[in-house]
Symmetry: C2
Subunit: 151 residues, 2 copies
């Protein structure tokens, strides 16, 4: 592989890294004190996908080590945004349920993001984002799978 091709891949990850960095900052500026992006992401995932999931499944979904997820969930539980229950099917395991306060916080945070997205939409047409998404999803699915064999 030539240097230019390798450079293209590096650029890809570089652009993604910076967008991620800034997006995270925007989100965290709209979250209550002490809550950070991973907290919100978990709440959002519990609504979008399904709550009652095990911590290990959440860790896999976000591709973080399981002890990092333990920590994030502890923060959410301490604030009453999720409830941890024993998993009736497996005594080693737990289930994570979102609470009404958790749902409420998610809704309010999304509402807080809307003005930003509207500004966004004025410059980057929604169409372009819609087009971009399947491409990104393809890459995400690929690296996701790649990760399972090689790291």
């Amino acid at each position: 592989m030539d240097e230019k091709t390798a450079g293209t891949f590096f650029s890809l990850f570089n652009e993604i890294g910076i967008i991620n960095q800034i997006g995270t900052t925007f989100l965290e500026a709209r979250l209550p004190d002490g809550l950070i992006a991973p907290h919100f992401s978990v709440l959002n995932h519990l609504i979008r996908v399904q709550d009652g999931q095990t911590p290990i499944r959440l860790a896999q979904a976000f591709q973080v080590p399981k002890n990092s997820m333990t920590h994030t969930l502890a923060g959410l539980e301490r604030r009453g945004l999720v409830q941890m229950r024993p998993n009736p099917d497996d005594a080693r395991s737990k289930q994570v349920w979102i609470t009404p306060a958790g749902r409420d916080l998610r809704v309010r945070t999304i509402a807080n993001m809307i003005p930003l997205f509207e500004e966004f939409e004025q410059t980057i047409a929604l169409d372009r984002v819609t087009e971009l998404l399947p491409r990104l999803r393809e890459i995400r699915e690929f690296v996701d799978e790649l990760r399972d064999h090689r790291t």
Copy 2:
């Protein structure tokens, strides 16, 4: 703005977040012990753009707080990968120069990434990445600018 549109923007940042997470893991698996992605990113930036830059410029380039950059640079300097010199134009300031060891580490890390990129290229054609890049760059430039006024 309707809920679906907001969901599209969330999906965008969500996909980007996961790709970033996995990409970082891949990179860090190929870095020597104790070095992490930000260390490599700085070395790479010093070559790609220009070395002799001030820490504050690097912090702006990566959109991280300046004290985070201080910490990253301290790690690089401790390992002899960069050299910090006083800035002759401004006594408050410094310049960051990459050392031969730093250059060497960067080259070796890129070489270590190549097999992964080759695997990548077999599934996601290079063309698609090349097409994707300007779109991402556009978004990056926009959020970058947005960040300067509103946060």
